[in-house]
């Protein structure tokens, strides 16, 4: 048998079409798997970061109200709003000397000791290169406590 007749008789077309399809499917699946490998590795490498991120808020939730916030004197708690406005105006991260200078110019009382209290209770925390940022979580706790006090 020769020609198209031989191809049909031996199911050549079927074998060829299925064959090339399987080759394509295999390499498409392999290329898909390969394109995911580095992303999965990336996730795996950052697992500790994700784990810490999910853990940190819980730890601070327990810590902030019971330990840090009550140690903040009431007058300092009240003045914290004004410092927050100054920090928002300066933008984060900010240098401590500038905050001191501005708070003095704005006539806030005892800026040195107030800022020291903020650092102690971690309302202001160090960022990179000697700059500082406002700790939003502690700030929220202070606001909550203040609201509770005023409603009482």
């Amino acid at each position: 048998m020769f020609g198209f007749e031989a191809i049909i008789a031996h199911d050549g077309l079927g074998i060829s079409v299925i064959g090339i399809s399987i080759v394509f499917v295999s390499l498409i699946l392999l290329s898909f798997a390969v394109s995911r490998i580095h992303k999965l590795i990336g996730l795996w490498d950052k697992r500790s970061k994700y784990y810490n991120r999910s853990k940190k808020p819980q730890q601070k939730d327990q810590k902030t109200p019971s330990v840090l916030v009550p140690t903040l004197p009431q007058d300092v708690q009240r003045v914290s709003r004004q410092f927050k406005l100054l920090i928002e105006w300066m933008g984060e991260p900010f240098p401590l000397p500038k905050l001191l200078d501005l708070s003095g110019k704005c006539g806030l009382s005892h800026p040195h000791s107030t800022i020291n209290e903020f650092i102690k209770c971690e309302l202001i925390i160090p960022a990179e290169n000697g700059y500082y940022i406002l700790n939003k979580q502690v700030e929220e706790k202070i606001l909550l406590l203040e609201e509770k006090r005023s409603s009482a």
């Binding site: 020609g3 064959g19 399987i22 390499l27 392999l30 390969v34 580095h38």
Partner: protein, 376 residues
Amino acid sequence: MENLLIEFLSNTGFALADYRNIIMILVGIIILYLGVAKEYEPLLLVPIGFGILIGNIPVIKDFGLGIYESGSFLNYVYYGVTHDIYPPLIFLGIGALTDFSTMLARPVLMLLGAAAQIGIFTTFLGALAIGFPPNEAASIGIIGGADGPTAIFLTAMLAPRLIGPIAVAAYSYMALVPVIQPPIMRLLTTRKERLIKMEEPREVSKKEKIIFPIVGFLLCCFLAPAALPLLGMLFFGNLLKECVVVERLARTARTSLIDIVTILLGVTVGASTQADVFLTRQSIGIFALGAFSFAIATASGVIFAKIMNLFLRKKINPLVGAAGVSAVPNSARVVQMVGQAEDPTNFLLMHAMAPNISGVIGSAIAAAILWSFMSL
């Protein structure tokens, strides 16, 4: 004493030789010339060329000398070919030699390796059409994969009597990649396309390189289990290379082991081309179909790259498609050569390695599929 001398003279090669032995010895010398003087794949062509000389010295039948006579030295060594021992070992060495980074960096280029396998199935149809039985047609088609070990692997399973012509055709065309591919590549691409510069591949991490052979092996062999001996060894070799902790094993696989197997495979494949077995009409048909298969494979890769460019944002230089035939790294070098002829600042070699390596995987899968279909 006179009788002894006459008997001795009648048993010499000069007395036993016929014109077919002379033709085959000339073929062997041409192959040696291509390997030594032209440096076309010398690691393959020199052992094969000399093997052809060995196999075509006329010897007395049943003297235990010929490759097809059981008990002869050549017959023992040929066992590794007929029983599919050498091809997987060659794949082990290839795996330990190959860096898969470029393929991992841009996996979409793997599709070009799949496209080039169209040549295998087209030639399979062509071989059926000119009267070859299906198992032989499948073995002839695999020449288009441009992968000598895979061609031998499949032929030993499906059509052992054709090992000689198919192996010589496959290796010859692999060696002649720099001659066969460039005209097809130029014919199917415009100058503008040949000038396309591809962006640098991203850096691939060590972890990726270690995970790939495991994922690749599991995926490919679950899909096409018949590819297990070839792909198992290929990915295992690559794992040895990438995991670093077994450097001694990796070094052996990519140096001594692959060299020893190449010598044994090359010489015995060459010696299997005994004139009475090799010089047949079928062999001429096999060589013609092999060339056709190779040309179709090259063209399929280039055309598929052009089709992909219609959908891709980051364009592919279509020349890279020609590297989908799995002559590693010869066809990737040809892509680089043709690309640089147009623009000396265009470096396509690393991009071409991706389809080149995926072509090896693709042709092994194609061989496994053909083997499975023919065994049903």
